[in-house]
Each structure stands twice: as structure tokens, then as C-alpha cells.
Amino acid sequence: MSTTALRARRVRGKGAGLGLLAWLLGIAFFLPIAWMALTSLHSETDAATNPPSFAASLTLDGYREFFGAGGGASPWPALINSTVASLASTLLVLLLAFPAAYALSINRVRKWTDVLFFFLSTKMLPAVAGLLPIYLFAKNAGMLDNIWLLVILYTSMNLPIAVWMMQSFLAEIPVAVIEAAKVDGARLPTILGRVVAPISLPGIAATALICFIFSWNELLFARVLTGVVAETAPVFLTGFITSQGLFLAKVCAASLVISLPVLAAGFAAQDKLVQGLSLGAVK
């Protein structure tokens, strides 16, 4: 008896040690973000000291500077562009992906696995492979520096992921529910809107969040295809690439403000995030 008790205590001791290790690693991974947050609240002179000043007084000057108080470029147009591009493309993705997922999971087309793999394969085509023709097309069509071109490209970037995710969510809906609706004489739009959508709402929400995150984060297309008018938040951030010392608090404030929508969306969808990012293959 005493040996089992001893073993149990040893196991519990080891468990506590491993729990502590997990805490330490968690803090280590979070430390850069915490440090960025602290730096964003320091004055520029306190931010740029070595060794770092932990006890410096806090100020919101970095945030005021970021929002253009010091005469710098206002981030608002870029933030609004990012919001419009991300929301519009997410909506378009859902409108296209939802019926497609229905055809790939509930009322299945023939060779549906091949179609699914076609969608996935477009994800493996590097963005740079089509960038030049898209740039030339946009230039000739007068669509450079146009937010709606980004909306179309972000939709093509997220559509494959959305189709995969949604088909895995819809596949879980019992066929009997759909059959019953059909027997009642419901046609496709009714089935999609009134039967399938309400059941799969959590899955649709998770898909929307992930599409929003990827659109919000995108840099390459936005950098090449936009300029003054349609500049997005990540492109605005690239303005800080060469900034030296003097603007450290402002850089940190900018990075945090622009990351905030993604951090909020990601924390809200923690569980669904895995399933979505692994294209529904992991549950």
C-alpha cells in the first residue's frame, strides 16, 4: 500500500514539475508580446534604452503618435481599407463556398474527392506564380490601387480553405434532416438557407473568422497592387521597416492596434481554429 502511495506522490510531484515547465514555456512564448505592449506604453526615450527600463512611467503617447497626432500619416484609411477588404472577401467566400460545400458533402457530385483536391491544389500554387499577370491586367484595366481587386484575390486565397472546412462541417449533418425537407417540397435555396445554414452556423462562423484573419494579414498582393488609396494595414506597417530607435513606442503601438482584430478573433475561435487551419482533417 505504502509503495503505491509513494508512487502516486512521485507522479503528482512530476506532474507539478511539468505543469511549471509548461507555465515557463508559455510565458517565454508570450514575453515578446508582453514586452511589445509595455514598450508601446513608454515614452520614446524610455523605450530606446539599454538596459531596458522596467519602471519607466507609462504614457499613451505612442498610441497618439500612431493615430497621427504628431503629423504623421493617419492609419485610419489603411484600417478602413483592411476592414472593407477583409469583410467583403469573407462574405464573398461564404456565398461561394457554402453551396459548393453542400454539393461536396450532402448532395454529392460524382468524383467529389477529386473536386476537393482540386481546391486544395490551388492552395499549393504559390501566390507569386500569378502575381505578374494579375499586376499587368490590373494596370491595363485601371484597377491598380483598387480595394475591390484585393477583395477578389483574397476570395481566391481563402475559398479553398473555406470549401474544405465547410464540407467537413456539413458532412456531419444527418442526411435524414435534408431528406425530410425535400419530401416537404423544399427547393435548393430553401434547403440551404432554412435547413443547412442554421444547423451549421458554428462551422460557418469559424470559417468566416479564419478567412477574415488571413485577409487581414495578407501583405504580398496588397504591397504590389495597392499604393496610396487602397493601402491596407499590413502595408501601412511596412512603413516602419526602416524606422530607427526614435519611434519604437509608435512601432509597438501600431503593431498591437493592427494585430488586435486578429488576436480577438483568434482567441474567440481557439477550438475551431485547429479544425479550420488543418482543413477539417483534424477534429
Binding site: 511539468l18 505543469g19 509548461a22 514555456l25 508559455g26 512564448f29 508570450f30 515578446p32 508580446i33 514586452w35 514598450t39 530606446a48 539599454n50 531596458p52 461561394l96 453551396p99 459548393a100 454539393a103 454529392r108 457530385v109 474527392t113 473536386v115 483536391f117 481546391f119 491544389s121 499549393m124 500554387l125 501566390a127 507569386v128 506564380a129 500569378g130 502575381l131 505578374l132 499577370p133 499587368l136 477578389i152 481566391s156 475559398l159 479553398p160 435548393l188 440551404l192 504591397r223 504590389v224 494595414a233 499590413p234 506597417l237 511596412t238 521597416i241 512601432v251 503593431s255 493592427i258 494585430s259 486578429v262 488576436l263 482567441f267 481554429l273 485547429v274 487551419l277 488543418s278 482533417a281
Partner: protein
């Protein structure tokens, strides 16, 4: 609709021809919801690639548009013999392999730790996910200015306290600096996938093995790792897809300098800054060929995962 209603009357004695028109109609009705998405993807992703393929056979600098002419495979020859480009191929391979492997191993350690019950597990999980949720450009700026800066960066600040050296991280080890920032961003992603894998383990089997006297290490090697294999493959595959295409970190931290230019950055530079449309396209096509090699392997992995999913359903 008329075809479906008149067909049965035309040949009532044969069953198969009777059903064919209506079956065809039904097949189209089944396909209809899929078509908008399919057509959209083909137009927006496949057509530009075909155009890239065509442009890659032209000598075309956008600063001298009148001198544009067909050159066959010259661009490919130039791309393959250009030492800078060959170096960027090597950089891409190094960057991808190093980041995927390091973040997989770290992610596995973290997933194993988080799979256990301990006080505050939810908080630690949230802390660990955070790096993945910082906008990539912001994360790259954070590493470049806030952590790596030799004068006021956090790393040298901490080293200062212990009286250590004050290295210039980005100048001394540029590729490693980019890789470290990417490992920090991608480890949480690997951890999430592997954690999902760990939580789908058969706990009765593990209990049985423990009763039979198997040690933690034996259980890990003989039960956990084989079970995790497919999740490790999935993490490696998805990580590779994104890291091969990485642009943000290279662009932000080193601007492709100091030998850190990977293929996406090089393609970007050759058409955006050097205006060499033909060369850039040829390089782009080569990136795609490389991706197809990875993808062929990758699709096999996914389809094995997928087949299991289908058979389970």
C-alpha cells in the same frame, strides 16, 4: 423539365433509357451549387498562371516594352545559371526545412505538456497561441526592432544584465534571425494540431499498456508517436505550404539582404524592382514546379488522412 416528363412515355418498356435524361438533369442540378466556386477559382488562379507560363518564354523588360520578343527557354537557362537565384533556391529550402522541423519539435513538446492536467492550463494555452495571432508583418517588426536591435533590443538588454556579449543578431546570423521569428510564429500552429491529435488517442489502450507495466517512454514511442504520425505529417505539410511562400518575414526583417532572399522575395524583386517580366515569370514557374513536387507528396498524405475520415463516416 419537359424531357423528364415525356421520356417515360416514349419508351415505357426499357428502364435504363427512361432514366437517363432525368439522371443527367439531376446530375446538373447536383453540380449547380458547386459551379460558381469552381469557375471563380479557375478564372482567378489558373488563368494567371497560364499567362505567367506564356510570359516566361519572352524577353520582356517593362521599361523597354518595344523590345519584347520570344526567346524560348532562355529565361529558364538564365534563371538556373544565375548564382543569386540558385542561392535563393537553397535559402528557400533551408528556411522551410529548418522552420518546419524546429516548430514541429517544439510544438510536440508543448502539446505533450498541455495534454496533461495542471493548474491554469487554459491560460497557458492562450499565452501559447498568441504568437500565431499577431499579424505577420507586426511580428516581423517586433523581432526586428524590439528584440534584435543591438542598441535597445530586449535580447541584448537581458544579456546586459548578465554581463553577456552584445551581438548584432540580424547582421551576424541573418537567416537564423528570420528563422527564429518564424519558428516563434509557427510553433503554436503545430502545437494546436498535435494537441488535437493527442486528445484523440485511445485512453483505454494507454491504461492497458500502463497496467502491463509499460513505462511513460515506452508508451510514448510505441503508442503515442505512431498515433501522432499522421498529425505530424499534416502539420509538416500545411506548415511547408505557408513557409515556402513566406514573404512577410524576409521582406520586413532583412529586405532580402545578407543572403536571406528566398524565391518568393526574389520573384517579387525581379519584376517589381528590376522590371524583368520574363525572368520573373520563369522563376515563378520554377517555384511552382518545386511546389508541385512537395504537393504530390503532400496530397498523398492528406488523402490518406481523408480516406480514413471517409471510412469512419
Amino acid at each position: 423539365m419537359t424531357a423528364t416528363t415525356t421520356a417515360p412515355a416514349a419508351s415505357p418498356e426499357l428502364r435504363t433509357p427512361v432514366r437517363r435524361p432525368s439522371a443527367r438533369l439531376r446530375a446538373w442540378a447536383t453540380r449547380a451549387p458547386l459551379l460558381p466556386a469552381l469557375i471563380f477559382m479557375i478564372v482567378v488562379t489558373q488563368l494567371p498562371f497560364v499567362a505567367t507560363l506564356v510570359i516566361s518564354f519572352f524577353d520582356w523588360n517593362s521599361l523597354y516594352p518595344d523590345a519584347r520578343h520570344f526567346t524560348g527557354v532562355d529565361n529558364y537557362q538564365e534563371v538556373l545559371t544565375d548564382p543569386d537565384l540558385r542561392h535563393s533556391v537553397w535559402t528557400t529550402v533551408l528556411l522551410t526545412v529548418a522552420v518546419v522541423l524546429a516548430s514541429l519539435v517544439l510544438g510536440l513538446v508543448l502539446a505533450l505538456l498541455l495534454d496533461r492536467r495542471f493548474r491554469g492550463r487554459g491560460i497557458v494555452r492562450t499565452l501559447l497561441i498568441a504568437p500565431f495571432l499577431v499579424v505577420p508583418v507586426a511580428a516581423a517588426l517586433l523581432w526586428k526592432h524590439v528584440l534584435y536591435n543591438p542598441e535597445y533590443g530586449l535580447f541584448n538588454g537581458l544579456l546586459h544584465y548578465v554581463g553577456g556579449p552584445q551581438p548584432d543578431w540580424i547582421s551576424n546570423t541573418p537567416l537564423l534571425a528570420v528563422e527564429a521569428s518564424l519558428v516563434w510564429q509557427w510553433t503554436p500552429f503545430m502545437m494546436l494540431i498535435l494537441l488535437a491529435g493527442l486528445q484523440s488517442r485511445d485512453h483505454e489502450q494507454i491504461e492497458a499498456a500502463r497496467v502491463d507495466g509499460a513505462s511513460d517512454w515506452q508508451i510514448f514511442v510505441h503508442l503515442t508517436l505512431p498515433h501522432l504520425r499522421r498529425y505530424l505529417e499534416l502539420g509538416a505539410l500545411l506548415g511547408s505550404i505557408y513557409i515556402v511562400q513566406n514573404f512577410d518575414a524576409v521582406f520586413t526583417i532583412t529586405s532580402g539582404g545578407l543572403g536571406t532572399a528566398n524565391l518568393p522575395y526574389t520573384v517579387y524583386q525581379s519584376f517589381y524592382q528590376a522590371h524583368e517580366n520574363g525572368l520573373a515569370s520563369a522563376a515563378g514557374v520554377l517555384v511552382v514546379i518545386g511546389s508541385i513536387v512537395i504537393a504530390t507528396f503532400a496530397l498523398r498524405v492528406v488523402s490518406s488522412l481523408f480516406r480514413e475520415e471517409v471510412s469512419r463516416a
